[in-house]
Amino acid sequence: MRRNVSLWAGIVLVGLVVGVALVSFAWTPHDPLLVDASVRLLGPGGEYVFGTDKLGRDLASQLMVGARTTLYVGVVAVGIAALIGTPLGVLAGMGANWLGELIMRTSDLVLAFPALLLAIMLGAVYGASTLTAMIAIGIATVPSFARIARAGTLQVVSTEYVLAARAGGRSRWWIAVRHVLPNISGIVVVQSSVSFAIAVLAEAALSFLGFGTAPPTPSWGRMLQESQELLAVEPRLALIPGAAIAIAVLGFNLLGDGLRDRFDPRLEVRR
């Protein structure tokens, strides 16, 4: 039970982010996009919990709506990576030797290419938007999934139950669906939560650089970028979205760690 502390801490932190995002659909304290010069740079407390920014927008409301962007980015980027990477990895582990080599060498090539650079290039060609950023991050994360899926597949394929299934006349397709996928699902879930954290961070970095979410849609990364010029005067404007990013990233990493322990087959036997 002691081991599951990180799992529970992860669930609480991620739950916080998800909860805030859900609430923001129905209610925010103020309109996050409303520019009101009369309330510029108010300190925290009172009507504006976290204060306002240089345009008089409510920081708390922006943060809440920004959580949506963050989760959206994570889900789409990780979704792309997992849905492409996992089957590729299974294919590489079960297919002919040359096919496996081809898939793995290609994914090495992608892995060698910096994800942010890819995102910036795609942004330059197709225009900066949340979607291009997510697709770029997704593509760049495909190799991680292919890699762990292949490693897991090789392990499952070498077991005697797969040999028994083959001796029973089962096709490769059946073995992949009935034996390989269920048995590697644990490590894929773990990889997803870790990749989620990386995607959240990458979106923040891209928005900060101006290649991510376009204004006026609130995003934690862009809030950070806009706080830049006032960093010395109003550090609060950077600290608050910074803390939000840290909480989300930490939450997903803890969740990944906790899930890893839970899916560890050695622990499973004891349960």
């Binding site: 005697e160 089962r170 499973e268």
Partner: protein, 263 residues
């Protein structure tokens, strides 16, 4: 029933350097024998003798480098997977590891019915099979980890019998079991082979176990058969020095006890 001729299998080791050639290892070097219908054929050898490679080739789970394997008069060593359907139902294997050979995430009834496909009466057959291997009828609902090692081996046997095979291959099927459980499983194998008129191929490193269930035995070493004959002859009058060494090395309770008496 099964005929093996001049069978060879070499493996390539993974490259150890970028430029060097991949070293080759011969797992089987020219193995020939015939197994008659209804025979109980034992294969004895230590680790590295090539017996596991041989099992894979018999089941057409791997392809030989040279030589042929025939099943019921048909060559199976060069057939593509889609034409192996007849072999897949007529030859079944039971493996050593009673945990590793059952998918931990499947229910026992799905494990046993796996070779049956989606036929409607498959769970009916599962109950029949569970009964045949001496497991309670409600075992099908449970998962492999809820069973003991001996029970898991019974599940493996039930799965192997599901497609009504003609040949049962046991690959170190009792090696991981305790003496008492081993005895029960050996008796069960014996009974099932008789009841379903199976041809048995029994592979083991343990001479004693082979002696109990087989009538013919092949002794393997370094990828070759060094001695082949009726169990009684090979055990009582071994011809090859390696067979003699194996028999002498096997721990023998009676001999050890009489030695204690002398001391």
């Amino acid at each position: 029933m099964i005929s093996v001729s001049e069978l060879e299998r070499t493996y390539r080791r993974p490259r150890t350097s970028l430029t060097g050639r991949r070293p080759e290892v011969a797992a089987l070097r020219g193995v020939s024998f015939d197994i008659a219908k209804g025979e109980r054929f034992g294969i004895v050898g230590e680790s590295g003798s090539g017996k596991s490679t041989l099992v894979r080739l018999l089941a057409a789970l791997d392809r030989p480098t040279a030589g042929t394997v025939s099943f019921d008069g048909r060559r199976v060593d060069d057939l593509p997977e889609r034409e192996l359907g007849f072999l897949r139902s007529r030859l079944q294997i039971v493996f050593q590891d009673p945990m590793g050979s059952l998918d931990p995430r499947m229910r026992v009834r799905d494990i046993i019915s796996e070779p049956l496909g989606r036929s409607r009466d498959r769970y009916e057959r599962v109950r029949e099979l569970l009964d045949a291997v001496g497991l309670p009828g409600d075992s099908g609902e449970r998962y492999p980890h809820q069973f003991s090692g001996g029970q898991r081996q019974r599940i493996s046997l039930a799965r192997a019998l599901a497609p009504r095979p003609r040949v049962l291959v046991a690959d170190e099927a009792v090696s991981a079991l305790d003496v008492l459980v081993r005895k029960q499983i050996l008796e069960l194998v014996d009974e099932l082979v008789q009841r379903y008129e199976l041809t048995l191929v029994f592979v083991s490193h343990d001479l004693d176990v082979v002696r109990r269930v087989c009538d013919t035995v092949a002794v393997m070493r370094h990828g070759e058969i060094v001695e082949l004959g009726a169990v009684a002859e090979v055990y009582d009058a071994p011809q090859h020095p390696y067979t003699r060494e194996l028999i002498a090395a096997a721990p023998n309770l009676t001999a050890a006890l009489s030695r204690l008496e002398e001391e």
